[in-house]
Symmetry: C2
Subunit: 226 residues, 2 copies
């Protein structure tokens, strides 16, 4: 399948690498895919020149990646997520499943981050993304676990959940099937329409806290209900 990834940080690299390894035709988009940019250190990830060497992957512009993908992943940092998608172009996202992994984290006071106020109070980054790109089929998913767990659910041993939210039921089913087949996820919690993104984005303070205190990103949660 042709897949476009918006964002060349740790999450974008991990998702793209896994899908390439699984045989898909993946284009990884960044703002400016120049030689100098590819050689730069990237936060919590390797320089893209090394990623290209290791994966055989292709780094292109945001717009080229979005145009290429039948499915598109939004995997930039939350603060610039919608700007990056604007550069990707609404016309290149139209009618496509857009998997929003971005978290609206505010690192302005260091660790732990808060949620960015503009995506927090009575809204979410998932909702604002759907509003900004009404013809994309936005599905919020994968944003509640580490990049290693996103692409391999067994990174966290045992039974735990992937939370999914979005307005388009078929698009959610596509994401669930992809998560199951490509990344080994087995348990899903459907949080309804894209307003459910508030719930998963608000999980980040717990997730970061558990990581800081427990010393391992091998954490997730399991829904228990009666």
């Amino acid at each position: 399948m042709k897949i476009g990834i918006i964002g060349g940080g740790g999450v974008g690299q991990a998702i793209a690498a896994k899908l390439i390894a699984n045989g898909h035709d993946v284009h990884l988009g960044i703002r400016n895919p120049s030689k100098e940019e590819l050689a730069k250190d990237r936060m919590m990830a390797k320089p893209l020149i090394d990623w290209v060497r290791d994966t055989g992957g292709k780094v292109v512009t945001f717009a080229e990646a979005a145009k290429h993908g039948e499915i598109v992943f939004a995997a930039t940092n939350g603060a610039t997520a919608i700007d990056a998608l604007k550069l990707a172009g609404a016309e290149n996202l139209k009618g496509k499943v857009l998997i929003d992994i971005s978290n609206p984290l505010d690192f302005s006071k260091g660790m732990p981050p808060a949620l960015l106020p503009q995506y927090d109070h009575f809204t979410s980054l998932g909702e604002e993304t759907q509003k900004a790109f009404p013809e994309a089929r936005v599905v919020k998913a994968f944003n509640t676990v580490s990049a290693s767990a996103m692409v391999d659910a067994s990174f966290v041993p045992g039974d735990h959940d992937l939370f999914i939210a979005g307005n388009d039921v078929e698009a959610k089913k596509t994401v669930e099937n992809l998560a199951r087949k490509e990344f080994g996820w087995k348990s899903f919690v459907d949080l309804g329409d894209i307003v459910g993104a508030r719930a998963t984005e608000h999980l980040l303070p717990l997730w970061v806290r558990l990581w800081m205190i427990g010393g391992t990103p091998k954490v997730n949660i399991k829904l228990v209900k009666g």
Copy 2:
């Protein structure tokens, strides 16, 4: 044991009723324990006059309840929580374990609530409570489940967690023992100092969402880690 409850809504009533049934000497504090006030309908709970009839419990002022308790529960709504504790009196809370169950929910736009901005961005109600009452031993706990589950963990069948945060290790141990003995809780996640309250208060959007979508308050989560 002598226990004081600050707040006569559904949560305060449930906690007080259970502890009375377990043989404790409990005083339930409200802002103004007049005859008229006791006869009033209370949001998501019965009039206190009925609660007194059913439990044999005693309704007093915030200050009287705080003074009475060796352990004090803060169980008002989040918006007025610190004001209610000011009425309870810092001198009546000094040196005591103060269990903060309140959630800083903003219902100004109806359901689902957001978090109150003043307790959200780089802080939490738990932290602000500890700052306002530096001599109280604040423990954030019980705020991530329904009142029915707070006082009887088996209300949600299966294995699931009670999240606890606070600066005072002994105080947290007291709360864990109380939760175990009085309310049947078996699994605990210690989120470290009171900054951990951010994580649990941010769980409310998920919790409310699960309730709205699943149609049952019989929900909680279980931490899964490697």
